[in-house]
């Protein structure tokens, strides 16, 4: 069972019901649940969108797109039905925040989905969970059934004329399906390959209808925004980055876990104060700030770094999914880079050549390099290969593979050079990593 953690610096908004049995619908209601949707039904869609815009809530999946704006892009009139699609295909290495939301507060996801539906004029929402999250899917399915039984979902929700249905869906193992257009393909019963954009999902999405796609954490945040008011929510965070965020801290850290902290919270403080510092009193070597696709940061780069989309972007990386991976000084960065790229090579759907071939050659090059058979030229070839993947694919998976690779080569060139000329890896206790995944 995932362990819950806490720290005095936390501001519990999204996580405030964690550990309190709120998967039970009556408990959820007792803790203030399903109040936000009632308010929204009374106030109407335009008010909801204005509150969302005022909240400065930005997409928690990684792209950081303002949620209110995303909802406002959906055309008011549409010949085809409109849909809300919740992305719970949480698969970015280093990320396990949605896991806790589904486990502890499934009704917040349902309530947020109904609110999104009301805002855009949709009658149907889908909640898609990765296939590995079967026990969480069962929790969500029960929560949805309970919401139907109470009349919170169905033809006349909360005794009004408004209709809203929710369907839960299971994936079957594919990182790529976390990309919004691939997610729609998967939900339509196809291979999860991305669609070319434009048209964007807000215009042509699921089954060809206008579709809003939100991350599970984003949608679980929505009822809280409504309850506290958009402006109050925005005030918790930093400029243009409203509210709090569930930061998952993992790797070589004393107290790993998911902590809810205000946007803009200092990364160094997060590692040393909140999560207890590097495990075993070792020295920090590097930090991956927002899931494995985000470029690595050095200790000197996190000194004054506030964890929001803009500040981390300015520091040359990304806030991404908020999965902070801490790396100590006993770690081989070449091995870490290889394990990172092996994942993207495994998950590339093969649709776009720069991604399919690029990830494969990066893995091959890094495997050889780590085994001590690299040449000086390889270092520049790895960089060149990664640079040429950037921006040349339909979906961001190619970038997700190239960006961290570029970061490792650029910031740890010396360590790459230490592997040259048949020298054994100075760190790895296993020799070459096993990486049997094919």
């Amino acid at each position: 069972m995932p362990r819950l953690v806490s720290h005095p610096d936390e501001v519990k908004v999204v996580s405030k019901r964690f550990g309190q049995g709120a998967a039970n619908i009556d408990k959820y209601i007792e803790l203030g649940g399903y109040e936000a949707i009632r308010k929204c039904l009374a106030q109407g869609p335009d008010w909801v969108i204005e509150e969302m815009k005022a909240s400065n809530l930005r997409g928690r999946g990684g792209a950081g797109f303002p949620t209110g704006m995303k909802w406002s892009f959906v055309p008011k009139q549409s010949a085809k039905p409109k849909y809300v699609l919740i992305n719970g295909d949480e698969s970015e290495p280093g990320t396990c925040k949605d896991h806790l939301i589904f486990l502890h507060d499934p009704h917040s996801v349902i309530e947020g989905t109904i609110i999104a539906g009301l805002a855009i004029g949709s009658k149907m929402g889908f909640i898609y969970l990765r296939g590995e999250y079967r026990y969480l899917l069962e929790i969500m399915e029960k929560a949805v059934a309970d919401a139907y039984a109470k009349g919170f979902l169905g033809k006349n929700i909360f005794g009004t004329d408004t209709e809203f249905q929710i369907i839960t869906q299971s994936g079957a193992g594919a990182y790529e399906v976390g990309e919004e257009s691939a997610l729609m393909e998967s939900l339509e019963g196809k291979r999860g390959v991305p669609r070319i954009k434009p048209p964007f999902p807000a215009v042509v999405g699921l089954y060809g209808g206008p579709t809003v796609i939100n991350n599970a954490e984003t949608i679980a945040t929505v009822p809280h925004v409504i309850n506290m008011g958009g402006t109050a929510f925005a005030a918790i965070g930093s400029p243009r980055n409203g509210g709090t965020r569930l930061f998952g801290i993992s790797g070589h850290i004393e107290r790993p876990g998911v902590y809810e902290l205000p946007m803009g919270y200092n990364l160094k403080k997060m590692i040393y104060d909140v999560a207890g510092g590097v495990r075993g009193g070792r020295t920090l070597k590097a930090v991956v700030p927002g899931g494995s696709s985000t470029p690595v940061l050095l200790p000197e780069e996190i000194e004054n770094l506030g964890m929001d989309f803009d500040q981390v972007g300015k520091a040359g990386s990304m806030l991404g999914s908020g999965g902070v991976v801490v790396i100590d000084d006993q770690t081989c960065i070449v091995e870490f880079a290889l394990r990172t790229i092996s994942f993207y090579q495994h998950e590339s759907c093969g649709w776009c050549i720069p991604c399919r071939e690029g990830t494969d050659w990066l893995k091959k090059s890094l495997t050889r390099f780590h085994a001590g058979f690299g040449t000086a030229k390889d270092i520049d070839n790895i960089r060149y290969l990664a640079e040429n993947m950037m921006g040349r694919t339909f979906c961001p998976l190619g970038d997700a593979a190239a960006m961290p690779t570029l970061g490792f080569v650029k910031k740890f060139r010396k360590e790459f050079e230490d592997h040259l000329d048949g020298k054994p890896c100075p760190f790895a206790k296993h020799g070459a990593p096993e990486l049997t995944i094919v």
Binding site: P2, P81, P93, Q169, S250, V258, T436
Partner: protein, 170 residues
């Protein structure tokens, strides 16, 4: 086709599939979950599974195979009764996942994608399973086990071995 007379699935699963295809605006949206639930019951996507799923959705078997081969959880040959999936991705790797994976290989006498001769266990090295903050973590079928060390391995295996024997004797 009536589910009662021709289905290779249990009446319960067949009834579930009857409902599933009607649930969505478009019938084939049921395809991916249906394949996974079919695998849960039969053990893998056999030719018979593919044929029945294709018929239920109303698409060709080739179309079903085309989709099924995309998803890493779907398999085309049997795994063990308990499929041990060890995550070795970065957060798990940093906390000793390869030692845990090695220990499983040692205890079971099989490697990546191997199945024990009694068919009770299979082993797989898998990508991130979304338990990074409780690493290293594994899944046995759909059950999560986290905060592992190599020392936890034999206990976990014993637990499932016991479960398997209990079912055989029942």
């Amino acid at each position: 086709m009536t589910a009662e007379t021709m289905s290779i699935f249990s009446p319960k699963v067949a009834a579930r599939f009857d409902a599933l295809v009607e649930k969505y605006p478009v019938r084939r949206s049921a395809l991916v979950p249906m394949l996974l639930y079919a695998q849960d019951e039969i053990g893998y996507l056999s030719d018979a599974v593919i044929a029945e799923v294709a018929q239920r959705i109303g698409i060709t078997e080739l179309d079903v195979r085309n989709v099924a081969t995309y998803y890493s959880m779907l398999r085309f040959k049997p795994a063990g009764k308990y499929n041990v999936q060890v995550c070795t991705n970065i957060s798990c790797m940093l906390r000793g996942a390869y030692d845990v994976f090695e220990k499983f290989q040692e205890e079971l006498g099989i490697g990546h994608k191997g199945v024990t001769s009694d068919g009770v266990f299979s082993l797989e090295e898998v990508e991130c399973i979304g338990a990074c903050c409780w690493a290293p973590a594994i899944q046995v079928n759909y059950d999560f086990h986290d905060d592992l060390t190599p020392e936890s391995v034999s206990g976990i295996l014993a637990q499932y071995r016991q479960k398997s024997e209990g079912q055989n004797n029942a």
